[in-house]
Symmetry: C2
Subunit: 266 residues, 2 copies
DNA sequence: CCGTCGGTTTCACTATTTGAAACTTAGTCT
DNA sequence: AGACTAAGTTTCAAATAGTGAAACCGACGG
């Protein structure tokens, strides 16, 4: 059911296999992959061999199992550093965390899902890798809705098609229609709320991070619990959150426009 | 000219492009990539398009620049969780950090280079993503030498061919011969030292993390400065470090952790 | 208005990928 | 033992997907 869309070309298939390996929590056998992949034996075999040879997968010669390779960790480091908002946003998240004392999330959109790229936890110290890289649903989280609300129509449509609309709580918006109505309200209001839609007792206020041209770059949220605060109180913080989001956007944009792309490789 | 190995098939080329984008610290233009890639315009264009379509790259429509995509961050999260020693080693690193009060490194080998998968910093709080994923040279770091010392001959040869042997300090082992002699001594001694070979004033003691079958899974090191301690004092800690490395190895193995691939197949 | 510079598309040519089927180990059952 | 079976590896003709020189387009700058 991976239904990872239209695998364009060999590369698409290879990446599909990569996802397949990733989706299992543990090393997988060739045959395990074979049953769930649409590809015939020989094809899958060659794909795995190529990926292994490339260091994207590692093959344990003893158990004959495949796992994601360390090359991915290296690539991801670069990805996180260069293409996510995290490094730029870092000091702003610290500031926001200090001011609110609440949990802060910085997220971006990845194939219709919310991907958390950074986080400040109210209680525990930062556990970056353990949190960054996690994904969540878009239709029932503050950051997800904030990003969807400002997404271009065709992206929104594609995203909606990928939502499960599983009813996590009694407040979950469990149909596309409800969600679309909500997005409209969010646009009008300027920020999104999570009204215990994902987890009971958990509420949040989220704002989009928009580029000057109005493109959604990510979202920023302050999360709390109904025990500790109310939606209204959170909403009162919206201007400040929005302000910080704007700062992040501005910096991100000026960081991306350096006339001179420095250094050829290395 | 860096000759990123022999790109096998289209997939290899695509991954090559990915590395190329990663190697620049920032978003790159099509034309920047074109000049440094061996591929002709149309080919590179199609490759970029496929990767972008797949979410491995993102194309900023405003500036027309490519950057690594967030899908990589997601994949890496899985890679880190499933194929690196980090999650298993975490509590042990904490313990070692507490006992020594020094900087701790956990590393694995990636294409002849040292890849740091986790770290405990003596001074500052953990900055995971900023550190994990970083690469370093193998021939002049404690963890690097520890892993090379127990590497199978064929892998060692391949790794040596990839070292630059740049003379970082006056203590750097700057020839294969010197390195090989040192590796022998390390094997005999059971642990490796970094005698200010990479950075002046920085010393460390590293041990390999070996599977029961003797394969190198990674390495663990305690780093300090000449101002604070001596090699002998660090060496005295070796048994304890080794003990912790053994615990990590045992747990990793019982978790059916797939070990590093060694050689490349034909 | 013309020339140039990025970037995108075309299209005949070819190399790569495909996948059914045959083959090889390494276990297992009788 | 021998003869099955499961899991992984290899073959090879057919077909598909990738190639890249060159043409094309649109946005500058003069």
């Amino acid at each position: 059911m991976a239904a990872e869309g239209h695998a364009d070309g060999t590369v698409g298939k290879a990446l599909d296999v990569l996802d397949m390996v990733a989706s299992h929590g543990r090393p997988v056998r060739f045959s395990d992959l074979l049953v769930q992949s649409a590809y015939p034996k020989a094809t899958l075999y060659r794909l795995l061999q190529t990926l292994t040879h490339q260091g994207m997968l590692t093959l344990d010669p003893d158990t004959g199992t495949y796992a994601l390779g360390v090359r991915l960790v290296r690539l991801a480091h670069a990805a996180w550093a260069q293409s996510s908002l995290a490094p730029i946003a870092r000091p702003h998240l610290d500031e926001l965390a200090a001011k609110t004392g609440e949990t802060i999330h910085l997220a971006q959109m990845d194939q219709g899902q919310v991907l958390y790229v950074d986080k400040r936890n109210a209680a525990k110290p930062v556990e970056m890798f353990a949190q960054a890289g996690k994904v969540g649903p878009a239709y029932c989280t503050g950051v997800g809705k904030a990003m969807l609300a400002w997404a271009p129509p065709e992206a929104l449509e594609a995203a909606i098609a990928r939502q499960s609309f599983y009813r996590h709580t009694e407040h979950t918006l469990d149909t596309p229609a409800k969600l679309i109505a909500e997005l409209q309200a969010i646009r009008a209001r300027g920020h999104a709320f999570d009204r215990e839609e994902h987890e009971s007792g958990i509420i949040c206020c989220a704002v989009p991070i928009l580029s000057r041209s109005g493109r959604v770059m990510g979202a920023l949220s302050v999360t709390s619990t109904t025990a500790r605060t109310t939606l209204d109180a959170l909403g009162a913080q919206a201007p400040m959150i929005k302000d910080i989001a704007a700062k992040i956007a501005a910096e991100a944009e000026s960081w991306r426009f350096p006339e001179q792309v420095q250094g050829r490789n290395a």
